[in-house]
């Protein structure tokens, strides 16, 4: 039982990466185990918890519901790629400032989701912020400080000139 393997080329966090994977290899496993980017976490492997969320060509996707071979040639951003020049991004800084994480396992998924959200909606209302985080599960924080962090991240982003 030898599986056919496929060569895929991905641009991950701005770096061109290659991997040879079977057709059934999940993008989450490819990132974590083939490319060594273990910051993306797997909480359920059925697309509900959102811990594995990464940005595919800038849009949030569940990497546990995505086959690596289907994203050949595309751009992926993971939590490891959110910082700029070694400085944590506004969303990352806001999470630390607002105590929006405890065990930190779900955090990369929230950070990726919110990075895309705040890019598209830099000044969200309460309702919009709630909607933005409502597709990710966190078992530690009760979400209150995550919501606080969304608004704080928007402020930090604005201070940086919407960068």
């Amino acid at each position: 039982m030898n599986e056919t393997r496929h060569r895929v080329t991905l641009t991950v966090n701005g770096v061109v990466r290659e991997a040879t994977v079977p057709g059934r290899r999940l993008l989450s496993d490819c990132l974590r185990h083939d490319l060594g980017l273990t910051g993306t976490h797997v909480g359920c492997e059925h697309g509900v918890c959102g811990a594995c969320t990464v940005l595919l060509d800038g849009e949030p996707v569940r990497s546990c519901l995505t086959l690596a071979v289907t994203v050949d040639g595309h751009e992926i951003t993971t939590v490891e790629g959110l910082a700029r020049d070694g400085e944590p991004s506004p969303v990352q800084r806001a999470f630390a400032e607002c105590h929006a994480l405890q065990c930190g396992f779900c955090t990369p998924g929230f950070l990726c989701t919110l990075t895309a959200f705040l890019r598209d909606n830099p000044a969200p209302t309460e309702e919009e912020a709630l909607e933005a985080v409502a597709g990710n599960l966190c078992r530690c924080t009760g979400y209150q400080n995550i919501l606080k962090a969304v608004h704080r991240a928007a402020e930090l982003q604005a201070e940086e000139g919407g960068a």
């Binding site: 030898n2 273990t38 910051g39 976490h41 492997e45 105590h99 065990c103 950070l111 078992r139 530690c140």
Partner: protein, 794 residues
């Protein structure tokens, strides 16, 4: 003083790595390790007739297949019963791999090791296990009927039976008191199962060093020291040849205190046997069917009370669902029985529980650990009494409170640590006053009436609890100041997101007078600290916090002694500020702690300029004294242990305002208020975070979460699609206020905070829904369809 950090909302030191993807969780380790996967029972109760692995043998990348028959020596024995108790007359634990009988869906039967997880699962799918299916026992009432048995040698399926009786004045029993009471009520309560459900499941990764004959195991555990002892014992290895490390752990909430899990023995065993690194990472379905659940109880309550609502006698019979095995003993029903009393003085109390086996996943502590059930019982009782007497619910509670001048207050029972249930401190009337103010209790009737005028149904609810925290036997801490001025703190218990690296650093920085940036903290690594119990029962801050403080005080005393000699001063005149030891009020007469560390360790060899100061020709030395004085040790380090005489009792009170939809029966929490007393706060930001998270889990338990077993013992909702954990949209904003009644039992005056938030939530929501609907709420969770059915059945 710049270094006074105890009590400050210091930002977490863990976060820098966790927000950038540099955390190191179990499955992030061991790139290239072989992967283990398990064939698990698809049946709730069956005899294994045959295991045929032949079809799996051709799988490319397969390394090994193991069944129970392959397990040597102690590994073939049942897993340990961790907490024996005289009342647990029929304790039963599973084998690491099933031997002959499987007793719940998900029980491991075969272990496969292969090149990667995909291949291991391919092989699992090709292994055929023939079963003779037996009648499963599902639900506590089915279990006590005893028609079918989970364990053939456990009659009536009763693993444990315990009666505890606290007589009233003159030795009158609770039942006698109730018979004679002016008012009596009797009712039944049902509490569903839920589970810890951390976002990261369990996992084990083992490295065998054949040259060294040593084993290093990483486990996503709440107790690395005890996992280590279990592995050494079951694999027959000398303890010093085994090290266990809890890396970053993605939440625990109780399930990871159980140990050794089958995988925690099997993976290291296979790694040693194969001389290859082996790793197993639990997937979500495995977590649902092969880890632990909690909560499930049926309670029968009888209460007698007077015209003021004072409880004269309380008699509670509990049927506790233990699932298929009892590895963690009967801790959960013991806690329910004892913590049920809450902040109240009950005239006479009788509590009886039967802990019964069912063909379902085993039950072990989940955050709250039996308390939510006990509090549900007592708080439902208080509401019933208030309704019966037509009194305000808070008034009835106040009539039963232990008063501030009555501490220490002896409840006359034995707590989960085997010690007397004596509350150390608290101020319950003040907590209730604060809560009523925070939620606007007295203004609510007007609010309710105004809403009703618009066709809306509002209800307000309240719940009080007392939580025994910081149970023994002990924890320890080690503190070392090195010659670069850095402070290295280690403690044996583990972290699962509570921010221990931060709060323990705050304690060390405050005790030693050093900047927090100089302090690093390691938890849960047996290479650094081998003596520990673990993280559970809201005990980490109390136990390790105090142990670290005591270790710091030893180090400080030694530092002052050495510095006094160098400064030719009296140690009593010295202070440490910002890492400098100086004469009080004379900042110029000072010496850095780094230098004190150099001086503390007499050297023959210098390796840098600083070290030269400690070498033998460096300065004037007394020729008639040994370089290390009698009773001294080289180095600026110390170890401290904290072992409390008994637990310290935190308390809290919650209130909620809910709205129920008159048509759809949807339940919305409009406001949620918490008054919390965990003694002195080390880091208020972190305590608040713990409360938020606890309340969110409580909301899950009150409104959404249950384990839907069918009559065949199949768990129908074993995924995040069907087991409904709250998203942000389901959790209300939590308003908090803190009361601080310090614990007189420990040097820092602190009490535990980890579990608090979750404990009263089901009781509070039930109280509020009942108030909104005017229908007695007797079970949790309550879904819109449950409420709809209740309305229809009126």
């Amino acid at each position: 003083m710049t270094t006074k950090l105890f009590g400050e909302p210091v930002r977490r030191r863990e976060d820098a790595r966790l927000i950038t993807g540099r955390g190191r969780y179990l499955d992030d380790l061991g790139a290239g390790a072989l992967a283990a996967a398990f064939v698990r029972s698809p049946h709730a109760h069956a005899r294994i007739l045959d295991i045929d692995v032949s079809a799996a043998l051709d799988v490319d990348g397969l390394v090994a297949i193991y069944t129970w028959e392959d397990l040597p020596g102690a590994l073939a024995e049942p897993l340990p019963l961790l907490i024996p108790h005289p009342a647990l007359t029929h304790g039963r634990t599973a084998y690491p791999l099933a031997r002959e009988i499987v007793r719940h869906v998900g029980e491991p039967v075969v272990m496969v090791v292969a090149r990667d997880r995909y291949v291991a699962e391919d092989a699992c799918a090709l292994i055929r296990v023939d079963y003779e299916i037996r009648k499963p026992v599902v639900g506590v009432e089915e279990a006590v009927r005893g028609v079918h048995l989970v364990h053939e040698d456990v009659p009536g399926n009763v693993g444990a039976h315990l009666v505890q009786e606290v007589p009233g004045p003159g030795g009158v029993t609770a039942r006698e008191v109730i018979e004679a009471a002016p008012h009596r009520l009797e009712f039944r309560l049902d509490i569903e199962r839920s589970a810890s459900m951390p976002l990261e499941g369990r996992g084990v990764y083992a490295r065998w060093d054949a040259d060294d004959g040593s084993l290093r195991v990483y486990s996503s555990t709440q107790t690395s020291t005890s996992v280590r002892m279990a592995i050494a014992a079951r694999l027959g290895l000398p303890l010093p040849k085994v090290e266990v490390i809890a890396p970053d752990v993605g939440g625990g909430f109780g399930v990871k205190i159980v140990h050794p899990w089958p995988e925690e023995l099997l993976v290291p065993w296979a790694a040693r046997l194969l001389n290859r690194e082996v790793k197993w990472t639990e997937d979500r379905r495995e977590h649902f069917v092969s880890s632990s659940h909690e909560r499930g109880q049926v309670q029968h309550v009888r209460v007698g009370f007077d015209d003021d609502g004072r409880v004269l006698g309380l008699d509670v019979e509990i049927l506790h669902d233990h699932g298929a095995y009892t590895p963690y003993g009967i801790i959960v029903p013991i806690i329910t029985s004892t913590q049920l009393l809450g902040p109240y003085k009950v005239g006479a109390y009788r509590v009886e529980f039967s802990s019964v086996y069912t063909n379902t996943v085993q039950v072990t502590p989940y955050r709250g650990a039996g308390r939510p059930q006990g509090v549900f019982c007592m708080e439902r009782t208080m509401d019933r009494i208030a309704a019966h007497l037509g009194k305000d619910r808070t008034e009835v509670r106040a009539a039963n409170f232990i008063q501030p001048h009555e501490f220490p207050y002896d409840q006359g029972m034995t707590f989960q640590d085997g010690r007397p249930l004596i509350y150390d401190s608290g101020d319950y009337p003040e907590a209730l006053r604060m809560l009523k103010e925070l939620i606007g209790w007295d203004d609510f009737p007007a609010m309710k009436a105004a809403a009703a005028a618009e066709g809306r149904r509002l209800g307000i609810g309240v719940g009080c609890y007392v939580e025994g925290t910081g149970v023994g036997p002990y924890e320890g801490g080690h503190v070392q100041i090195t010659s670069d001025g850095r402070v290295h703190v280690s403690t044996g218990l583990t972290s699962q997101g509570q921010g221990h690296e931060t709060v323990f650093a705050q304690i060390a920085a405050t005790e030693l007078g050093v900047p927090i940036e100089k302090v690093s903290v390691v938890t849960g690594d047996t290479r650094r600290f081998g003596y520990a119990v673990g993280t559970f029962a809201s005990r980490a801050a109390v136990m390790s916090g105090n142990a670290i403080a005591l270790a710091c005080r030893k180090v400080r005393e030694k530092a002052l002694r050495i510095a006094a000699e160098a400064l030719e001063a009296d140690p009593r005149d010295l202070e440490i500020t910002d890492g400098m030891v100086h004469v009080a009020g004379v900042p110029s007469a000072s010496i850095p702690l780094a230098t004190v560390a150099v001086l503390s360790n007499p050297l023959r060899y210098a390796f840098d300029e600083e070290a030269q100061r400690a070498t033998q020709f460096a300065g004037p030395a007394s020729g008639d004294r040994p370089p290390v004085a009698e009773g001294e040790e080289p180095g600026l380090e110390g170890r401290g242990y904290y072992s409390p005489v008994r637990s310290t009792f935190a308390a809290g009170m919650h209130a909620a305002i809910v709205e129920t939809d008159p048509d759809t029966a949807e339940i919305k929490i409009l406001r949620y208020a918490v008054v919390h007393d965990c003694g002195k706060l080390i880091n208020p930001m972190i305590v608040e975070g713990q409360i938020h998270g606890g309340v969110a889990q409580g909301v899950g338990g009150a409104l959404y979460e249950k384990m839907a077993y069918d009559e065949h013992g199949q768990l129908l909702n074993a995924s995040f699609m069907d087991f409904l954990m709250p998203y942000a949209t389901e959790v209300p904003r939590i308003e908090t206020a803190h009361l601080e009644t310090p614990s007189p039992l420990n040097p820092l005056g602190i009490k535990g905070a980890g579990e608090a938030g979750v404990i009263p939530v089901s009781a509070v929501i039930a109280s509020a829904v009942e108030d909104a609907e005017g229908i007695p709420i007797t079970g949790m969770p309550i879904s819109p369809s449950d409420l709809y059915a209740l309305r229809r059945s009126r």
